[in-house]
């Protein structure tokens, strides 16, 4: 469908082309919407990115604020309805407080949830001033305790008594953005290299394809580890962030280059491209005005499907301790705390970042599959 | 007259699909096959001729049903079996498949497995049905390949289908079908995918083999020329109905059903330039099976359609010795004659 709509518009004037492209996107959206699972996944993905964007507002506490008193405090959960001793009902969100108990076997102090203690939660709680997404000054959080001194660990605390929920929310920002940045960079290399290879063909094409095949035949994690290990230890958080992105896209570009090249190769012989060439259009014009619009949708789908791989790779690298480093919070660095089996046994909630990884990857895959099916004129 | 080997009686086949109502692809078909004779089943694509043929070996897809009718298979000197009542993967049916009734298909390339040698595929047929060892089976295979006119049979047995030409592949396919000397051979458009010269050779071969083996043959085709060449009897199908059937000479000389008449008129005839007349194609197109009228399927395109045609199914009427047709024109004429 993409090709046919473009082949008519390719020959037509620029105005007609504009409308042709819009209808193509509209068509894709309509086909995509029939895919219920993909549509639901789209909303999940959007929700995750909203969390990433509004991390400071949504996270109830500072992700690096620690408290030695609440080491490995178990998750409080969030409750909405409670019954008083006299049988009356109380509505409104609250969390339970903690009490300490002496473990009779290990003779150790442990934290347990105190069902008696109720700490009311208030929405739009005032907080210390901060910059939302580093730009908008704000001094209110989505929710918080009425008394900010009380402990708030909805998903539990880590070794240093830091709030897992807040760290997870901030980690979402890093992990998702690194996926996006990595794919953007891969896309940049992929389109340029794959585009040249596909459009001009010849020795450059075969050289590029050999390189792509070569990179794809290598086991990625050892390679990534080797590259990541070479990063100077004294680099700043931002520098490591970009270095990791670059390392991920060093391998990530190959898949996208393959897709771009494939599309270019098949489009090169299409009638509307030949027509444009016979009209005397320049290479640049043919590529940007005639070819690129007709495969944007494919590229978007391929890029979407590449994001989960990036997220997984970052998580794996950081998990092994060679990716992002300590002050930066990402799903991978969070999972690093869960490496020790004994720690895990006392604080299984440290695995929650892993659940986030699984959910976003599933959602991204379904979403990408739906996009690809919708973009493919010949599928179904 | 010899006893018939296969009698299809009142056979209907319907297909179900999840979205739409069931489609009756074949309705109330009666066919009779006798040893040594060839019955040609003719019709346009989608008329149900292939479905009918496949039903004989129960090779239909899972969504096909046989709501009523019988397929009585009766080799000489034994009791008849109703194939329509057998389970598709049952022992009884598997003993018939390949052994008693064999089939050859239209596409010799895709109908043979591309990753097994010709010899292996033919050996298999022998090994399934007879107590022989591999060596004996291969000897039979080579003999068969030789018999169907494949040069260098011994070497060709080790060839893969993609190494043979289309004609040779079809010959190999025929050799496979004949491996267990079946009583009945079903040929589902065996010549359609071949070029004209090869077509003629394959038809010659089939005719000769039939004479040698004395088997019955059900020949599916859409080509009236091929029918004239090979068939003893012919059954014309239109949209699931057998509209006319009988001796090939009778049907070709005096077609009784308007559809058969129209078909005959649409064949180009060799004539001197001055005598040439315009070809007379059948008007309109075949309706989709779900739009088929309750009565005669040909109603929408029939030049003689009248009162009862659309709503009432014409009965199978005898119009000559062993010559039947389903048309209201015929019954009306008989009624008038009686009156």
């Amino acid at each position: 469908m993409a090709e046919t709509s473009m082949s008519t518009s390719g020959a037509a004037a620029a105005r007609a082309k504009r409308s042709g492209r819009e209808s193509q996107m509209g068509l894709m959206w309509r086909r995509f919407r029939q895919h219920k699972l993909a549509l639901a996944s789209l909303w999940i993905v959007v929700a995750f990115y909203v969390v990433a964007l509004l991390a400071e507002f949504l996270a109830p506490t500072d992700p690096s604020a620690y408290s030695a008193r609440y080491t490995y405090a178990p998750p409080q959960g969030l409750h909405f309805i409670a019954q008083n001793d006299d049988g009356s009902w109380v509505f409104g969100p609250y969390v339970n407080g903690y009490k300490t108990e002496i473990d009779p076997v290990a003779l150790r102090r442990t934290f347990v949830i105190d069902e008696e203690k109720r700490l009311p939660v208030q929405f739009l709680a005032p907080s210390k001033p901060y910059l939302l997404a580093g730009v908008i000054p704000m001094s209110v959080k989505l929710f918080g305790l009425e008394n900010p001194r009380d402990p708030l660990y909805i998903l539990g605390a880590d070794r240093l008594g830091r709030d897992l929920l807040s760290r997870l929310i901030h980690g979402t920002r890093i992990s998702l953005s690194i996926g996006l940045a990595g794919v953007t960079m891969s896309l940049f290399f992929g389109i340029i290299i794959g585009g040249f290879a596909g459009y001009y063909g010849g020795w450059f094409d075969s050289a590029v394809m050999r390189v792509v095949e070569f990179i794809r035949s290598m086991p990625t994690i050892p390679l990534w580890l080797g590259l990541a290990a070479a990063m100077p230890k004294d680099w700043s958080a931002l520098q490591t962030y970009f270095a990791i992105t670059l390392i991920l896209s060093l391998i990530g570009w190959t898949e996208l280059a393959r897709v771009v090249r494939g599309r270019f190769l098949s489009l090169r012989t299409e009638d509307f491209v030949t027509a444009a060439r016979l009209d005397g259009a320049s290479d640049w014009r043919i590529i940007t005005r005639h070819m690129v619009p007709s495969f944007t949708s494919h590229i978007i789908a391929a890029a979407t499907l590449a994001i989960p791989g990036m997220i997984l790779a970052e998580t794996a690298l950081s998990f092994l301790g060679l990716g992002l480093q300590a002050p930066i919070v990402s799903w991978g660095t969070l999972l690093q705390d869960a490496q020790n089996i004994r720690t895990l046994a006392t604080a299984p909630w440290l695995l929650t970042p892993g659940i986030c990884v699984v959910v976003i990857i599933l959602a991204m895959n379904f979403f990408g599959d739906g996009l690809r099916d919708a973009a493919d004129p010949h599928g179904r | 007259m010899t006893q018939p080997i296969l009698r299809i009686e009142d056979l209907s086949i319907s297909f179900s699909s999840p979205d739409e109502a069931d489609i009756e692809a074949v309705r109330q078909v009666d066919l009779t096959l006798t040893p040594g004779k060839t019955l040609a089943l003719v019709g346009e694509s989608g008329c149900g001729k292939s479905v009918t043929a496949r039903a004989v070996l129960r090779l239909l897809d899972a969504n096909a049903r046989i709501p009523h009718g019988r397929i009585l298979f009766q080799p000489e000197g034994s009791e008849p079996t109703d194939i329509a009542r057998l389970k598709p993967d049952s022992l009884a049916l598997r003993a018939i498949r390949g052994n008693q009734i064999a089939m050859i298909f239209q596409e010799p390339m895709s109908s043979l497995s591309p990753v097994h040698t010709i010899g292996d595929q033919i050996d298999e047929m022998v090994l399934i049905h007879e107590r022989v060892n591999r060596k004996q089976a291969r000897a039979r295979t080579v003999a068969l390949l030789d018999q169907v006119g494949i040069p260098g049979a011994k070497e060709r047995a080790d060839a893969y289908p993609f190494e043979l030409s289309g004609g040779l592949r079809q010959r190999a396919m025929i050799a496979m079908a004949l491996a267990c000397t079946p009583r009945l051979l079903i040929a589902d458009e065996p010549t359609t995918a071949l070029d004209v010269t090869t077509q003629a050779q394959i038809l010659d071969l089939l005719r000769q083999l039939q004479a040698d083996f004395g088997m019955a043959m059900l020949f599916i085709t859409h080509d009236l020329g091929v029918v004239a060449e090979i068939a003893d009897e012919v059954a014309v199908m239109y949209l699931g109905d057998v509209v006319e059937q009988g001796n090939v000479f009778d049907v070709f000389r005096a077609p009784q059903h308007p559809y058969t008449q129209a078909l005959m008129n649409s064949i180009p005839k060799m004539a001197r330039k001055a005598d040439r007349v315009r070809l007379n194609p059948i008007k309109g197109t075949v309706p989709a099976p779900k739009d088929r009228p309750e009565g005669c399927a040909f109603t929408s395109r029939c030049p003689h359609a009248f009162g009862p045609c659309a709503s009432e199914r014409p009965a199978r009427t005898v119009v000559g010795e062993g010559h039947h047709a389903r048309c209201h024109l015929l019954t009306r004429q008989t009624e008038e004659a009686l009156a």
Partner: protein, 329 residues
Amino acid sequence: MLSFIIRRTIVMVLTLIAVSIVAFAIIQLPPGDYLTSYIASLSATGDQVDPRVIENLRNQYGLGQPFYIQYFKWITGVVQGNFGHSFEWKRPVWELIWGRLGNSVMVEGLAVLVMWLIALPIGIYAAVRKYSLGDYLATIAGFIGLAVPNFFFALILMYLAYVWFGTTMGGLFSPEFETARWSLPRLWDFFTHAWAPVLVLATSGTAELIRILRANLLDELKKPYVTTARAKGLPEWKVILKYPVRLALNPLVSTIGWLLPALVSGSVIVSVVMNLPTAGPMLLRSLTTQDMYLAGAIILLLSVLTVVGTLISDILLAWIDPRIRYGSK
């Protein structure tokens, strides 16, 4: 067939050369050279630094000379089985890694085996009984198998084993068998330990294999040769196993080409989590301590394993598919 193997082997040799260049580049990446680190580590432990030893080493590795000379010296050594010296362990690299590499090969080989053993029946079932309950279950399981990172799966498995059975999973051998010779009890001990990491490693590959096998088989089941086989009188299960499954396998074998790199990748990280004595944890350790000759050798050998494995699967593919064997298509 022979020309096919020769062609593939040439490609493989070229790939290996490229791999070795990449591995050497990684060795060279960290700032400073091997010798500076070596001297630093010797000084740190308070050992005397012998200037003659230093001079010898400088010659041996061609330090201070251009990249290609250093590479050439290194690769000559590698071809002769000399992978350089680990300054952390103060032993030749090869001595350190061959045992661990063997374990890697064993675990990964088993994972490949398990992958096929699970994927084949499930994939065939899902295709033959399309849209049945089993098919849906297989599809869902497949999606989850693809989405759960294998190190996370390993963590969950270890956690559950700890909570439910009180056992700490990990390692490939019990302590008493660690250094023992191979024997039946040791083999048994190996299997009681190895099943978990093998299962973890095989999950995503299995999911992918099932997905591809199902799609291929659905295509093949519609082909006319299946009807031909049925018309012969073969029982249904034989029809399916002998013809369409056989053809559906062909494109699958080629997927090993990228399944294997993913598997080797995964085994590195799973080994770290599950504390397996394979090349993975040693690679990680050597990288964190910048023991670069050791790290480079492991990266090189893991890649070589992958490339050789791919070559084997390519040849296997050709061997089962006559169309490739005879150079048509």
